[in-house]
Amino acid sequence: MAGRAPLAGVRVADFTWVWAGPFCTLQLAHLGAEVIRVETATRPCVTRLLPPFADFEPGPNRSGYFNQYNQGKKSIALDLKRPEAIEAAQRLCAASDVVVENFAAGVMERMGLGWEVLRRLRADLIMIALSGYGATGPDSDKVSYGPAQVPLSGMSSVTGYRGFPPMHVGISYGDPTGGLHGAVAVLAALLHRARTGQGQYIDLSQWETSMAVLPEAICGWTMNGAAPERDGNRDAHMAPHGVFRAAGEDRWVALAVEDDAAWTRFAAAIGRPELASDPRWATAAARKQSEDELEEIVTAWTGARSPEEATATLQAAGVAAFTAATNRDLAEDPHLNARGFFVELPHPVVGTRKHVGVPWRMSESDCRVRGAAPCLGADTEQVLRDVCGYGAAEITRLREARALV
């Protein structure tokens, strides 16, 4: 809808890096905040240097990784090793409602941009640090990379094929989980500030946000001293439940029979109605008992048809199923395209490319991706002039001091 943006007039100074922090500020940009990323060409964000590069041609403004998670933001180039740049960054923070950072512990303080400094520049400031281990505690100075968060959190020890080693989950899951929790905390702090005028500091540990989504495993331990064993795609209560081979090269379909009524519908849908009344399969407990054999029955059916056909047949019968979608499947998904989920906005370097949009819709407010990701430093002059209050001569002086690279 074309109403007002929820965070219209809220400015975010974004000192983040890689994925967790930029994913946090992306949510605020979707809601209409003016998010200003502080960057430097002397050490660009890792995601600017990683593929996929548009048409395989590397370049800091050509990465799909950066361009996905920085949509709708501005970029100011400041080399924070220069004192002139630190002063500009302080002015930016003083003119911002929210400061977001995910450097290693102590980096912002050493640059003169720590909470104790910034809160004096702006009394009602909200600042959030999204770190791997959190700002306090004996491990707070440890280094954390996205891929290492999944094993650290405990997720890997319970994820994997039965009898196989611990595994990853396919993405650096601690990053988006941390970033989304960060957005929740910032929005709650903004609501509190709107009512009371009070700002605050938020210490977010990605390790802790990753454990917040593992209660089944953690409570299994605290209650019984036992963790769930790695069991592939199976579920303790539902069967069949998994990702099954379909016709075609490396094509798979996920399906779950949620209860015994769904089993009856499933049996009819695959042309084996007799399975519904067979006591070997009629109850979830019985199906769990002979799950290997059960999965052979399922695969005999899924293996003979495409995942799309299996999905259509099962969903029409009220049984949960869907293709294990690849990136191409998603980009071409008729449902997501019909919903207008994808965003294609012009970018000065890579042109118009398909990007992922906002996973929620608002019936009244203006909530959307507001623009393509910025080129590095695209908004430097505008932000220095309109936000930090520098005149043209001062901007020239900053440029000559090599602070604006």
Binding site: W19, A217, H237, R353
Partner: protein
């Protein structure tokens, strides 16, 4: 200390993880949440566990107790007209109604935004659905294994050397946790907008989209390069791999060249490490078959903790593959006070994950255990001038 959201009245019609986690995020920051459960069995997570001693009991599910602390709970049969009338009266004094009732069943449960909004224009209603409320697949069903696959995450995870093994989902109902997080963000956004407009609105959260939004760098390989992302692709950079030590598993993580040099030092500069095959991160990736054997042979003699600490002293981001026991025993997490103790009248003492963030002025709090089924029905109904006993005679509560 004040709570950030203590003025907020929330009505949750949730069964499972998604709406319950979205409402929990708000409850833990002070919101007053009333959870509506169907009479009889209540929320589905009451039957899921884990349970003490593995004995199922509707008041002892660890998952339910975690998700629903800080909430009051009532029972209400929304399939009956009288139950839907009561829901309307409760919605009339709420700021936010969050639910994850399937779109096919929403109207039959009284979750009609147009109608509720006409009566109470300031209401924010947030609907979570596996495939959203509109579009050709809106009626599709989707528990976690299905949405995790539909959102493109499952296809990214597997064992590259074993194409016969299927795409693998992550442990736990992660699809619903992601949907709940997005629901909290959309809801808070709408509540912030309401400060300026005075009007509520309908927020729609699509779980499939929540997952398609977290594919790291893989989605863009198609629009940027026309390349398929696959679970079978070998990692271009190594070591980024799991290794078995003498007392558990560790994750080796050397992204930068200097990190690899530090690890080689820690290993005592073995001769094989100077082989041309392993000269840089890309060649280590290309020759991972050979590298893996050497690394595994060395790691098997190491202790996880000693290797982790030795690497971290050199700023190399290795991490242990934490078991649940490791997490509970971590001195760091203990110093931060991460785990929280719930004292529940039926389940007794239960330790659960605690604050995911520390807000200096308005901290996360644990104020009350999860409600027993229908525990607050009489209390809440009395607040809107209704007699629970009369409704119980009509089998509505």
């Amino acid at each position: 200390m004040p709570a950030a959201l203590d003025q907020l009245q929330v009505l949750e019609v949730g069964s499972g993880v998604a709406a319950a986690y979205g409402a929990k995020l708000l409850a833990d920051l002070g919101a007053q949440v009333i959870k509506v459960e169907p009479p009889g069995g209540g929320d589905a997570t009451r039957a899921r566990g884990p349970f003490p001693g593995d004995v199922p009991h509707p008041e002892k599910s660890g998952l339910f107790l975690y998700l629903n602390a800080n909430k009051r709970g009532i029972t209400l049969d929304l399939t009956r007209p009288r139950g839907r009338e009561v829901l309307e009266r409760l919605a009339a004094r709420a700021d936010l109604l969050v639910h994850d009732v399937h779109p096919r069943e929403m109207a039959g449960r009284g979750l009609d935004y147009e109608r509720l909004s006409a009566m109470h224009p300031a209401l924010v209603m947030t609907s979570i659905a596996p495939f959203g409320l509109g579009g050709p697949h809106a009626g599709y069903r989707g528990p976690d294994v299905v949405t995790w696959s539909a959102g493109g995450v499952a296809a990214l995870n597997g064992e590259p050397t074993r194409p016969d093994l299927p795409p693998l989902k992550a442990f736990g109902d992660q699809s619903s946790f992601q949907a709940g997080l997005n629901a909290a963000i959309g809801s808070l956004g709408a509540l912030f907008a309401r400060l300026a407009t005075g009007r509520g609105e309908h927020v729609e959260v699509c779980t499939q989209e929540c997952l398609a939004a977290i594919l790291e760098l893989t989605f863009e390989f198609w629009p940027y390069c026309g390349l398929l992302a696959s679970r079978l692709g070998a990692k271009p950079i190594q070591p980024l791999c799991f290794m078995e030590c003498r007392d558990g598993w560790i994750f080796l993580c050397c992204v930068e060249e200097h990190q690899w040099k530090c690890l080689v030092d820690i290993m005592g500069k073995p001769e094989w490490a100077s082989m041309e095959l392993f000269a840089d991160r890309l060649s280590r990736g290309a020759n991972f078959d050979a590298l893996q054997g050497f690394l595994q042979e060395w790691c098997r003699e190491q202790s996880v903790h000693e290797l982790y600490e030795a690497a971290q002293r050199r700023r190399v981001p290795l991490a242990p593959v934490s078991t649940m026991g490791d997490l509970l025993a971590s001195p760091h997490l203990r110093a931060r006070g991460f785990f929280a103790a719930i004292e529940h009248p039926v389940a007794g003492a239960v330790t659960v994950p605690g604050a995911p963030y520390k807000l200096s002025a308005t901290p996360w709090t644990l104020r009350a255990p999860a409600p027993c089924l229908g525990q607050h029905t009489a209390e809440v109904l009395a607040e809107i001038g209704l007699d629970a006993a009369a409704l119980a005679r009509e089998a509505v509560v």
